[in-house]
Amino acid sequence: MAVREIKLCLLGDAGVGKSSLVLRFVCDTFNACSESTIGASFMSKTIEVNEQSYKYQIWDTAGQEKYRGLAPMYYRGAAAAIVVFDITREESFHTLKDWVKELQQLGPPNLVMAIAGNKSDLDEMREVSSHDARTFADSVDALFAETSALTAKNVLELFVEIS
């Protein structure tokens, strides 16, 4: 059986939980005091869906402004991009819109885009409604899921859907 390779990159504002989503997907763990990513980190994971093996090669990028200029290097060669925002921080949703715009303009033509509203376990602190996020995702033709790296909700599902 052939293994299908999926090159994937995560983008989004600092502190939204990109690394935590990757950690949940790759190692199925959660680190409450995880540090901010420096530059970008690369990880891979193979999973099987409907008897087909997929090897995910994941670029987890740093959200800080100064690393922003490096992002094209990671999404240029990618087949899919997950753009993450934090449902408890509206500002991160604005940053997400900028990322989506950049991907539409400069990203590869067949890029599969997914939008993840992370930290869904903190519903009582929500600043971005599911409805708004979903409407925006539909308008840019992106997959959408509300995830929680803490409780693992929808994390695997999101990655599988991309395949």
Partner: protein, 432 residues
């Protein structure tokens, strides 16, 4: 030159002291504080407390510096009470150290230079200049966000680790044939854009391969060691990030591929490239290196063992007479020191030990009167410093030993170091 204008200096300094005391109730407990501000007086970093709340003090500092600059002079240091205030103006930044520890003014200036280099490693000198040329009032914290931990860690390391004031690195002791085969593995993974291949563990160097034309300055190596030490985000993945090494080239970035050899082995491999798109190329180099280290030479368990047991070190020399020492080989630009044993087994005692070494180092390197040999008896230990053409030795002894016994110990120590030289130091410099 030292700025001397007693009356005004005293008044200004007095102001600074009052302001600092008022804004920080715990100030008396802090023995070394570091501030970074822009030339316009905007806060960038404070080692303790919130830099935002220290706007007034930073303003005073900026005023002090520019007041002296107006008379075409440079403010280097002030002494007030038991505190030294050391200033360093570098490009568009003002760095200030306030210390009540033993650190001498040149030692504090060196520490501030390291702090400045740490900022350059994130931004490059060229970018830093450009930012402030465009906007004198720029809030640099926006660009340094997420890297404060590297400044914190660097400052903590400088208080504990003699590498910095010795301006050299410590190697992990391992038998020379193992070190050679590790270096060969690194050499074999050469790619077009690879400049330096470095294997480190905590604060020790295992091996380094460099181009024939370039050397890696210890100050640059300290930045790399600090980077790896300060972050847990490099574990269990491969990282790729830009880093500026100011001594190598302060106007541009190198690109670092950082990974640990394995889950079990705490040795970190750093591959530095000139090409920002070379990640996959270096990931392949890493694969080759690990394969060679595992299949061909079985070096990974040796490295792990050397790290965890310190099997090949000089710990056995420490006894009832000689309590601790630092030996720097000037030939190799590296130093060796044993692990700290009682009485130096607590953080406080280790810091105090560093203070003794800094005092000794300063006594011997004081520009006014450098010394070759120093012996001091202090209440808790006897100190000996000895500098020759080829080495620097700093040692602490039981205060009850006689000078003769101390010297006998030193002779024995020197003989052992000579005998084990190729295990303790990287003696064969490797190039691509």
């Amino acid at each position: 030159m030292y700025w001397c204008f007693a009356s005004k200096e005293t008044i200004l300094c007095f102001f600074t002291l009052i302001l600092i005391d008022v804004s920080h109730p715990d100030w008396s407990k802090i023995n070394k504080h570091i501030f970074i501000l822009s030339e316009a007086g905007k806060p960038i970093y404070s080692r303790y407390g919130n830099e935002e709340k220290l706007v007034t003090i930073m303003g005073v500092m900026q005023a002090l510096v520019s007041f002296v600059q107006d008379s075409d002079d440079t403010l280097q240091s002030l002494v007030a009470g038991n505190r030294k205030y050391v200033f360093l103006v570098k490009g568009p930044l003002i760095l200030v150290a306030v210390s009540s520890l033993e650190d001498s003014v040149p030692q504090l200036q060196l520490q501030l230079t390291y702090v400045y280099h740490q900022i350059l490693s994130v931004l490059t000198g060229a970018q830093l200049e450009k930012i402030f040329e465009q906007l004198r009032n720029y809030d640099l914290r926006k660009l340094l966000g997420g890297t404060e931990k590297f400044l914190h860690n660097l400052l903590d390391m400088m208080d504990r680790d003699p590498s910095f004031f010795l301006e050299s690195v410590q190697c992990l002791p391992i038998p020379v044939h193992y070190r050679d085969s590790i270096a060969s593995s690194l050499q074999h993974a050469k790619t077009k854009s690879l400049v330096f291949a470095i294997l480190i563990t905590e604060n020790q160097l295992i091996t380094l391969v460099r181009p024939k034309k370039y050397n890696l300055h210890p100050a640059d190596l300290h930045l790399i060691i600090n980077l790896v030490n300060a972050s847990t985000s490099f574990q269990s993945c491969e990282s790729w990030l830009p880093i500026c090494l100011p001594k190598f080239n302060d106007s541009g970035y190198l690109h670092a591929h950082i990974s640990y050899l394995s889950e079990e082995c705490p040795a970190c491999l750093v591959l530095l490239s000139t090409d920002k798109d070379a990640f996959y190329e270096l990931a392949e180099s890493r694969e080759k290196i690990i394969k060679r280290l595992t299949v061909k030479s079985n070096c990974i368990p040796v490295i792990s063992e050397a790290i965890t047991t310190n099997k090949y070190g000089l710990d056995y020399i420490i006894g009832s007479e000689i309590w601790h020492f630092l030996y720097k080989s000037k030939t190799y630009g590296q130093f060796v020191s044993p692990k700290c044993r009682p009485p130096y087994n607590t953080v406080e005692e280790q810091t105090r030990l560093q203070e003794l070494y800094k005092y000794l180092h300063h006594r011997m390197h004081a520009s006014a009167k450098p010394l070759k040999l120093v012996y001091r008896l202090r209440s808790q230990e006897a100190l000996l410093g000895w500098i020759s053409e080829t080495f620097e030795l700093y040692a602490v002894f039981n205060p009850l030993v006689s000078k003769t016994v101390a010297i006998g110990n030193v002779k024995r120590l020197m003989a052992i170091i000579k005998q084990e030289e190729d295990k303790l130091f990287i003696v064969n410099a490797r190039t691509f």
